[in-house]
């Protein structure tokens, strides 16, 4: 028997206009939530309301609209603080997304702290956005990357991780949840262990925020990065959380308006955090939309969402294992509702095209995690990833569509 869903999924689905769409004449079954989630009406309305009634630049004018927009922008910062339980509001920086958050840390914290022959530790399952910024930094500084290996279930080998830490290690950068495997990493343990050596930790939370309750004080990480668009919010907006003490010591990221307190041609005095890191006019609408996304998540409850997705994961794992000659890639004990798989002798792109004709949207490719593909000896995988609005019926639709793949390829 299926577990009871702790909220009314049909009501939630009503809130997502895009889910009513037909694709190739079939009802859309959207299972590409790890790439980006769909947006609820509340988020769409917030964006529209901002442009219709509040549009103004922030932190600059004394006029009515500017004050309104500034207030709403800053209220969202407070909302984010509560959402991830940061100690202080000024520890919340708005950025473009996870990618920019990581680049920001690499180009500010990294450029100051990392020197020749130093090391940065990351893992075999990182998204390219948590590899390449560090690689660029290492090339510039003559430092190097050390990689925590994983086992064939897609779990990090913690004994190996411990061996990698040394005086040379300047940072550990690690995904909370892997987009290419679904693995939920034991980041609290990892952070504890790194801290014993006095090493700061950056967590890539892109795949975690919409599924797990995040408490950055409890985790005690130095940095936590995530994207709005993977948590039912708009694209183009994301968050970098950083401990205030570190942020204060870090040099600025980009130069421009808002990040200064006084400028002459001889010298610039930088603004206080978080503004020091927010040069130029930000994505004001995006921030307000992100606030609406947090409202949406809180209206259901992140724990309830997690519980529903866990049930979907269980059911989908069982159903997919009944599809002939299908192999799951990523079978960690602790997993989010992300299922990567391959089918014997069939390239994932062919799978993607065929199930798309059935209205089922899945992702195929290397998922910006080529080292993971290498580990499992596959060029690519297919991935079904679930969100709050997905149903058990949609798992059945996926399985039916996968059987079609065998009909075509016989």
């Amino acid at each position: 028997m299926r577990p009871a869903i702790p909220f009314d999924v049909d009501r939630v689905r009503e809130d997502f206009p895009i889910l009513k769409q037909k694709v190739h004449g079939k009802t859309l079954v959207y299972l590409d939530n790890a790439a980006t989630t769909q947006k609820p009406q509340g988020v769409i309305d917030a964006l529209e309301r901002y442009y219709r009634t509040e549009n103004a630049n922030i932190h600059r004018g004394v006029h009515y609209l500017s004050e309104l927009a500034t207030a709403e922008f800053e209220e969202t910062r407070t909302q984010v603080k509560h959402f991830i339980n940061a100690r202080e509001v000024r520890e919340i920086l708005f950025v473009r997304g996870t990618t920019e958050a990581i680049n920001l840390v690499a180009q500010t914290f990294g450029r100051v702290q990392v020197k020749k022959d130093d090391e940065i530790v990351l893992s075999e399952m990182e998204h390219h956005s948590n590899i390449v910024p560090w690689q660029i930094l290492c090339q510039e500084k003559g430092a190097r990357l050390r990689v925590i290996p994983m086992n064939d279930a897609g779990e990090l080998i913690l004994d190996e991780f411990k061996k990698l830490l040394s005086k040379k290690t300047k940072l550990v950068a690690i995904a909370h949840v892997s987009n290419a495997l679904g693995t939920i990493n034991p980041i609290k343990k990892i952070i504890e262990r790194a801290h014993r050596h006095g090493i700061p930790v950056l967590v890539d939370g892109a795949q975690a925020v919409a599924h797990l309750k995040i408490d950055v004080q409890d985790l005690d990480c130095e940095f936590y990065a995530f994207s709005g668009h993977k948590m039912y919010g708009p694209t183009g907006i994301g968050v970098l959380y950083g401990k205030a003490k570190l942020l204060e010591e870090m040099p600025p990221y980009q130069g421009g308006g808002d990040m200064i307190s006084a400028v002459t041609f001889e010298k610039t005095l930088y603004n206080v955090i978080p503004y020091k890191f927010e040069a130029g006019t930000p994505d004001i609408a995006g921030v307000i939309g992100l606030g609406a996304a947090i409202d949406f998540i809180q209206s259901i409850g992140i724990e309830n969402m997690g519980q529903h997705e866990e049930a979907l994961l269980k059911e989908a794992t069982k159903s997919l294992s009944q599809v002939p000659r299908l192999r799951l890639i990523g079978t960690a004990r602790e997993k989010a509702a992300v299922l990567n798989f391959v089918m014997e002798g069939i390239h994932p792109h062919d799978i993607g095209t065929i199930v798309d004709q059935e209205g089922v949207a899945i992702r195929t490719g290397h998922h910006c995690a080529m080292p993971v593909m290498q580990h499992f000896g596959v060029p690519a995988t297919a991935r079904a990833s679930f969100g709050v609005y997905n149903t058990f019926e949609e798992i059945e639709a996926l399985v039916k569509a996968l059987k079609k793949v065998w009909e075509v390829f016989g």
Binding site: H347, T353, Q357, P379
Partner: protein, 153 residues
């Protein structure tokens, strides 16, 4: 299923299962590697060129059904053709898989006509053209891997 059966025609499925000339021919003197970073498709095309003629062609690699079948069918057609004929065929193939859906595909494509169905699937056009791009690169003697994501000169 009609668009889908247009795409996955029996000929394509057969070539995918049993690719022709799927090896490095002895005495190959020109070769190139092709890569589609979006799918991870990789292909190597080998040619034994004598004067103006491609005496033998083979390929190796991994990829989806469309890219593999395209490579396979390409080799069956190119064997024994001149470089000039090959280049003009390659251009025609490219035109066929990217031309407007309202225009009927050219009638003189021979066996290659089975790839006309790719037009319905814009995301898959590069799968069909990878082998041909790589063949062009082999003819031009390009050293670095050709990528479907690099702008062409």
């Amino acid at each position: 299923m009609s668009e889908l059966s247009e795409l996955y025609q029996q000929v394509i499925l057969d070539h995918n299962r049993n690719p022709q000339n799927f090896h490095r021919p002895a005495g190959a003197n020109q070769t190139a590697e092709g890569y589609n970073p979006l799918c991870g498709d990789k292909i190597t095309v080998y040619l034994r060129v004598h004067g103006e003629t491609i005496q033998e062609i083979g390929f190796e690699g991994s990829g989806c059904a469309i890219s593999k079948a395209s490579g396979s069918l390409m080799t069956t057609i190119i064997n024994g053709k001149t470089i000039k004929q090959t280049q003009s065929l390659s251009k025609k193939f490219q035109e066929m898989v990217t031309c407007d859906l309202n225009i009927p595909p050219p009638s003189d494509m021979g066996k290659l006509i089975v790839f006309a169905g790719v037009r319905e699937f814009p995301m898959r056009v590069k799968c069909a053209t990878l082998a041909w791009h790589t063949l062009n690169a082999a003819l031009e003697g390009k050293k670095e891997t050709v990528s479907t994501e690099k702008p062409e000169e």
